[in-house]
């Protein structure tokens, strides 16, 4: 029995003795974890770390994952030039940990992100040029982080990709977009039953919405995208991306657990960051899809009119919905991103 215990202990010790690996090179592939308040969040850094230019992807959800953005296009084109940082937020992606139920408010996510930035600078140098790219829910978290204290000066630029920075505004725009599109599609005789259902729902609600109605509208927004003939189907093999990156597939259900759901409910109780948007002065790139009912492109106008950045650019992609970086405009989207980074790194 003593021998068995000794063998187990030795095995655990061997596994546990992990050598610190920091790759400075053109094809880095580092994986490490940020441990904060009971949650171990994986961080994957792929690409050209020698460039000293890093882009941190801040994923959607809440409860989504970052590695999904590592498309073959990104690997071939962006990772050659810069280092891409795929960070899974707490209770999302491949994050690990135990009971984490109390940490369901945005403040803890902002703290995680602050520590994430500190950790990247610790590993790769204080002199790295860091850009943050928030998508969807990440487009709420990112400006929330930037607006706090002096955080915005830790990064060189902000990319807002179909972000949800103002829920009441989002609900109003989404409702109107769906109503406009429903009228067109019903007149054209396309998916009439479903569009009529969407139209009836949109007509039945009055703004501002409570969380329940807001989430129902959000569901119709996603459905509306699948019914929009102008949006080509997205041929994106997410499973292949997960498998190539050793992502634990069964953790994909994490987004449906109580903590992200509770956070989503909180978000949909009229949370908004517009009032304080004027504090932002760093270069900003706003990228939205024309047919994105989930985070309508008019949200970009609200940010554009409020931030005090000397450089701000808004692009609305004609063939995209909410997954603006995955679909027909993939190349155009990443071309905008890399041009922005080259300018401000």
């Amino acid at each position: 029995m003593k021998k068995l215990l000794l063998i187990i202990s030795l095995g655990m010790a061997i596994v546990g003795c992990q050598r610190e690996e920091i790759t400075i090179g053109t094809h880095a592939s580092d994986v490490f974890y940020l441990l904060n308040k009971g949650s171990a969040m994986p961080v994957r850094v792929h690409g050209n770390t020698a460039s000293k230019t890093f882009m941190l992807m801040i994923h959607g959800g809440p409860g989504g994952d970052a590695i999904i953005y590592r498309s073959p296009y990104v690997v071939e084109n962006l990772e050659e030039e810069i280092a891409m940082v795929y960070w899974d937020q707490r209770n999302g992606g491949a994050t690990q940990g135990g009971a984490n139920g109390a940490n369901d408010e945005v403040d803890i996510f902002i703290e995680d992100l602050e520590k994430m930035v500190a950790l990247l600078k610790h590993r790769y140098g204080d002199d790295i040029s860091l850009f943050v790219n928030g998508h969807s829910w990440g487009g709420f978290l990112t400006p929330a982080f930037l607006q706090k204290d002096q955080n915005q000066y830790l990064v060189k630029g902000w990319i807002q990709s179909a972000g949800a920075h103002n829920i009441p505004l989002l609900n109003g725009y989404a409702r109107q977009m769906l109503l406009d599109k429903a009228a067109i599609e019903i007149a054209a005789g396309n998916n009439t039953a479903k569009w009529t259902e969407i139209q009836d729902f949109c007509n039945s609600i009055t703004l501002p919405l409570n969380a329940e109605k807001g989430l129902k509208l959000n569901g119709y927004c996603f459905e509306g995208q699948t019914l929009t003939p102008e949006l080509p189907g997205i041929e994106y093999n997410g499973t292949a991306v997960y498998l190539q990156n050793d992502f634990p597939l069964l953790q994909l259900t994490t987004g449906r657990n109580s903590v992200p759901i509770s956070l989503t409910n909180w978000l949909f109780t009229d949370q908004q960051l517009s009032d304080n948007m004027s504090v932002i002065t760093i270069p900003t790139l706003l990228l939205f899809g024309k047919y994105d009912y989930v985070c309508p492109p008019l949200l970009a106008d609200d940010i554009e009119s409020r931030i005090q950045s000397a450089y701000k650019r808004k692009v609305v992609f004609e063939k995209s919905g909410h997954g603006v970086m995955f679909g027909a405009d993939e190349q155009a989207y990443w071309t905008e991103v890399i041009a922005f980074i080259r300018t401000f790194k």
Partner: protein, 214 residues
């Protein structure tokens, strides 16, 4: 003559009846040592354990004057498992299983087992914590303890079933449920391909034997 014939038949019947009574048809199972390759399903690992029978029910089924024997054995089993999932974690898990094995008159058997246990993960990359003051510390042996429940099912073949110390090969699938994980639970399917050896003398078991006829 008739009486002699009746007595003779009675004797034959008696001998036959004696032959079928309390002796177990298949030798009683013994404590076994299990060694298995484990896959989860893409990532490798191992499963080592010990199984100890405590109840054997031998069932005789007679049909058209032909008897078939089925043996149902309950085991208590303790296992140490491990798998390596690069960049995610290394997981060690200790499981106690209540194993139900049904052995037919051929060598094939099926089994299922509910289990409970404990697991410890080691994160698949260097791990850091950052204090509120911005001080960064590298954590060694970072990981989490999870409670575990599991359900397994599978089957195998028992070689040399008449011997007291046969060798069994088996394949089984388990679903491990680790909790709490991200305030919820985490399910992990694992497949094991293994061998069970029993020496007969190692931790000799004396399972209770029950015989039933149908």
């Amino acid at each position: 003559m008739k009486l002699s014939l009746v007595l003779f038949l009675c004797l034959i019947w008696g001998l036959c009846a004696y032959a079928q009574s309390p002796e177990p048809v298949v030798s009683l199972p013994q404590t076994g040592i299990k060694v298995a390759f484990l896959a989860t399903p893409r990532y490798p690992g191992f499963d080592l354990g010990i199984e100890r029978p405590y109840l054997v029910t031998q069932l005789e089924k007679t049909r058209h004057q032909e008897s078939r024997y089925i043996s149902k054995t309950r085991y208590l089993s303790a296992n140490l498992g491990y798998y390596h999932h690069p960049t995610y974690h290394d997981l060690f898990f200790l499981r106690l299983e209540h194993q139900y094995r049904r052995q037919g008159s051929g060598g094939w058997f099926t089994e299922w087992a509910p289990g409970v246990g404990f697991s410890r993960s080691f994160l698949g990359g260097e791990t850091y914590s950052v204090s509120d003051g911005g001080q960064i510390t590298r954590k060694t042996l970072a990981g989490f303890n999870y409670a575990l429940v599991s359900l397994s099912g599978g089957g195998g073949y028992r070689f040399a079933k008449e011997r007291a110390n046969p060798v069994l090969i088996y394949a089984k699938t388990s679903v491990l449920c680790l909790f709490p994980s991200n305030s919820n639970f985490y399910l992990r399917p694992v497949v094991s391909l293994g061998v069970v050896f029993s020496s007969g003398s190692f931790l000799a078991a004396h399972p209770t034997l029950k015989m039933k006829k149908k």
